[in-house]
């Protein structure tokens, strides 16, 4: 009895507030826009009995999904989200790997402090960390003031409200997600393997490339997924740092819903985004499982 309650409570909670809402999105994505409240058709009319149910399912169609393929905006937004997420993942890896490597090579008594310095920004508000860049990147901002002062440039650069600012924002906010898994992979690395490689005639660079990188592969993969997956649906960063030309699907969905009030299309956008995300998520889980099997 107790066991039943213990299982049922969180189970029912998630069913009602995670699975069912998701099914509602799926249903609305197949509905038509209507000028009513709620603004979509058809409604399930249980009072009409079996006829009502049949009419309900008969009226669902893929029209919204066809609409998404006919309007350039949407597939361009998906493609550009994929591109921004992929490129910023690579950039985050390039910034994060050397840091994780240096942390793993630091004296053991220093490591907890360094680790805390990486985790601390994660606890600080995401919104504030994105906001911090607005003052730096704007035309009169500190970066331009600095570069003008140093004489590197003669006219201020436009960085805020461009894709470049979005890349900076993503690399900055997701950097801890990249560093932590790579650090934990590198920390376990057996130093004697590197010495063996060097004894056998590898140069340092070769030893790094042939030993260190392959042994930290799982950390790299985990870090890349942890950055790529949330970056793909990102809303805050493109809205604050990006410009009107920055197309990201999270922002499109938000605007479709709040500005255009087209709920069926917003739902269809959400469903496609999920379908795109399912592939990296499955790959990620496979990798995690493989890693666990290898360890255990």
């Amino acid at each position: 009895m107790r066991r039943f309650v213990l299982i049922a409570l969180p189970y029912l909670w998630l069913l009602c507030l995670f699975l069912i809402p998701f099914l509602i999105v799926l249903k609305i994505s197949l509905s038509d826009t209507a000028l009513a409240r709620p603004p979509y058709m058809p409604q399930l009319d249980l009072a009409a009995g079996w006829e009502g149910v049949r009419a309900f399912f008969g009226d669902l169609d893929l029209e919204n999904f066809w609409f998404l393929t006919t309007d350039d905006l949407y597939w361009k937004a998906y493609l550009s989200s994929l591109q921004i997420a992929a490129l910023s993942t690579v950039l985050t890896l390039m910034v994060g790997y050397p840091m994780a490597y240096a942390m793993a090579r630091a004296a053991p008594e220093w490591r907890p402090t360094l680790l805390m310095l990486v985790i601390l920004p994660f606890w600080t508000s995401f919104l504030i960390r994105v906001y911090a860049w607005m003052g730096i990147l704007s035309t009169e901002g500190l970066l331009n003031q600095l570069l003008l002062g140093l004489g590197v440039i003669s006219t201020p650069l436009t960085i805020l409200n461009t894709d470049t600012a979005v890349y900076i924002g993503i690399v900055y906010t997701y950097l801890p997600f990249m560093i932590l898994p790579i650090y934990s992979a590198l920390e376990k690395l057996d130093e004697s393997l590197l010495e063996a490689a060097e004894d056998l005639g590898c140069s340092r660079a070769q030893a790094f490339w042939l030993v260190t990188i392959p042994l930290s592969k799982n950390g790299i993969i985990a870090g890349c997924f942890l950055v790529f997956i949330p970056a793909l649906g990102e809303f805050v960063i493109p809205s604050l740092l990006g410009g009107s030309g920055t197309l990201m699907i999270g922002k499109v969905l938000w605007e479709e819903f709040f500005s255009n009030r087209d709920w069926p299309v917003a739902s269809a956008v959400a469903i496609i985004l999920l379908l795109i995300l399912i592939i990296p998520i499955i790959l990620f889980q496979r990798n995690e499982q493989k890693q666990r099997e290898a360890e255990g």
Binding site: R2, R3, I7, L9, P10, Y11, W13, L14, L15, L17, F18, L19, I20, P21, F22, I24, V25, I28, P38, V95, P98, M99, Y101, A102, M103, R105, A106, A107, L114, M116, L117, W123, T124, S125, F126, L127, I128, R129, Y131, A132, W133, M134, G135, S138, E140, G141, Q145, Y172, L175, L194, I229, G233, F235, G250, L253, W254, F257, A270, L273, I281
Partner: protein, 272 residues
């Protein structure tokens, strides 16, 4: 430390400068007397004073704290239950679905979670406000809590629980007297994580709130969209200060606890 070269030192210095300079600049400019955020006009605490008299921000802060306390507490209870079920309960009908629902919200983009919950609340005719944000935050935060707690549950010895049961404890007492104290650090950090996630959330709160309840992130976001403002700098500085003090205190406490534990273990090893 033969492998700690100048290259490592440089990448750490540059990396941490990148991580911290933007926030340090933000803090410095919150003490700027000028209304223009990018022009330094001398030290002043003017913006903090104005912030303290800004009713809208204070109201939003109060709503945010209420939501965070309720949802993180609820999420900790539900998340700990979910973790216990996943780690200890063996097979039951729909287990795969259950574990799927625990992990899926972690990777679900916030816009989708927000949209789906809003459509649910509208579908069942629930008035949106503090209550619906609490429901929404509890849902995604309980998944984080259960991941944190279940990693602790898997790593400790079930024989301790079995011993308690053999000695006549009811399952509930065994949980309360044996399991809970052992997993307490994970439960506490789960609560803290849930609390921070709730304080920080903009997207899901924007979807699930109504006109009656505005949280601080929603307020900040709408102010920030109009540009950088010194008041927001002051507010950010306060939030950064609270988090920094909190995290440092927590890490000092846990460090002291682990030192004490090591000392006890060494003492126990000597007496044997």
């Amino acid at each position: 430390m033969k492998r700690f070269s100048w290259f490592n030192a440089t990448s750490l210095t540059l990396g941490f400068a990148f991580l911290y300079l933007p926030m340090i600049i933000l803090v410095i400019y919150s003490f700027n007397a000028s209304k223009l955020v990018t022009v330094w006009a001398g030290f002043s605490t003017r913006w903090y004073g104005e912030l303290l008299h800004n009713e809208e921000f204070l109201d939003a802060a109060w709503v945010t704290i209420k939501v965070a306390v309720f949802s993180s507490t609820l999420a900790t209870v539900l998340g700990t239950m979910a973790a216990y079920v996943l780690v200890r309960s063996g097979r039951f009908v729909g287990r795969t679905l259950f574990s799927g629902m625990i992990y899926a919200p972690l990777v679900m983009p916030e816009v989708i979670t927000g949209l789906s919950l809003l459509l649910l609340f509208i579908g069942i005719g629930l008035d949106r406000g503090v209550f619906t944000i609490v429901l929404a935050h509890t849902t995604f935060a309980m998944c984080y809590v259960s991941v944190v707690v279940s990693s602790r549950l898997t790593s400790f010895d079930t024989s301790l629980e079995e011993a308690a049961l053999d000695l006549g404890c009811s399952p509930f007492d065994a949980f309360r007297l044996v399991t809970l104290p052992i997993i307490a650090p994970a439960v506490v950090s789960g609560w803290l994580l849930a609390f921070t996630l709730s304080l920080d959330d903009l997207v899901i709160a924007s979807f699930t709130t109504g006109p009656s309840a505005t949280t601080l992130p929603i307020k900040i976001f709408s102010a920030v969209r109009l540009g950088v403002s010194p008041e927001i700098n002051a507010l950010s500085t306060i939030m950064i200060a609270i988090v920094t003090v909190g995290v440092i205190t927590a890490s000092l406490i846990s460090k002291r606890a682990s030192v004490a534990q090591q000392r006890d273990e060494q003492a126990a090893a000597r007496t044997q």
